[in-house]
Assembly symmetry: C2
Homo-oligomer: 115 residues x 2
DNA sequence: TCCAAATATTCGCTATATCGAATATAATAA
DNA sequence: TTATTATATTCGATATAGCGAATATTTGGA
């Protein structure tokens, strides 16, 4: 049997609604943790955990700017490839999987959300 | 937060080495359960369980021919889309994710393996 | 009808994922 | 240095996935 554990691990890292939401935001542009926290409505520790999963899977990269840590997609084509797979694999999915425009999130303290 | 639970469920159904192996075989041509069991080296009940996951996710369809049940991809483009995602998402993946030619498996009783 | 083979299902156990809460760490400013 | 804010980590509890074993179901043939 051909071993597809590496590919399965990649898919497992993708297989969570919150992580997909994070990737959807990052597909637009890089974002800091507090922004992702505000957008998703999840707790900060939870987002940090999900980001760790994504980072260890090699899907995102991060850079620190002062006290903020910005995350970005490791490969900008990721969301496009995901949208294609969802379109092919899933009749019930939003079709096509859409991108979300960046917009300031109330309550998010990051510079991109400060008016 | 945009709800991506449907997409996450699809990815979760894909996120297992044995299920990927099944899909890899089915990408070539339809196959019966006993063939998939022989190819993967897993137990019959286990393969049947994985096939149930794939079927309920809408990824495969089945047809009965006598005592045999043949499974096929619901969408023939699935493997191609998966290969693209793996290439984009994962530097460590086999690149590109290859297809496997059909070949008779010793010990498989299905007609396609009988010489 | 009875049996054998292919496939599906159920059950119980173990492993893993997820999450909240609490805490730790890092960077900047006072 | 101390305080504050953003982020990361750890821990414990709960939920879910995965698997083997046993059993049920389906089909065709004797």
């Amino acid at each position: 049997m051909l071993c597809l554990t590496t590919e399965a691990a990649l898919l497992k890292a993708l297989a969570h609604p919150t992580r997909l939401c994070i990737l959807q935001v990052l597909a637009q542009e890089e974002a800091c943790v507090c922004h992702l926290t505000a957008v998703t409505g999840q707790r900060q520790a939870n987002i940090s955990q999900h980001l760790t999963v994504l980072r260890e899977a090699g899907l995102v990269q991060d850079r620190r700017d002062g006290v903020l840590v910005y995350y970005r997609l490791a490969d900008p084509r990721l969301w496009e490839a995901l949208a294609l797979l969802c379109e092919v694999g899933c009749a019930a999915c939003e079709r096509p999987l859409r991108s979300v425009p960046h917009s300031p999130v109330p309550g998010c303290p990051c510079p991109k959300c400060k008016v």
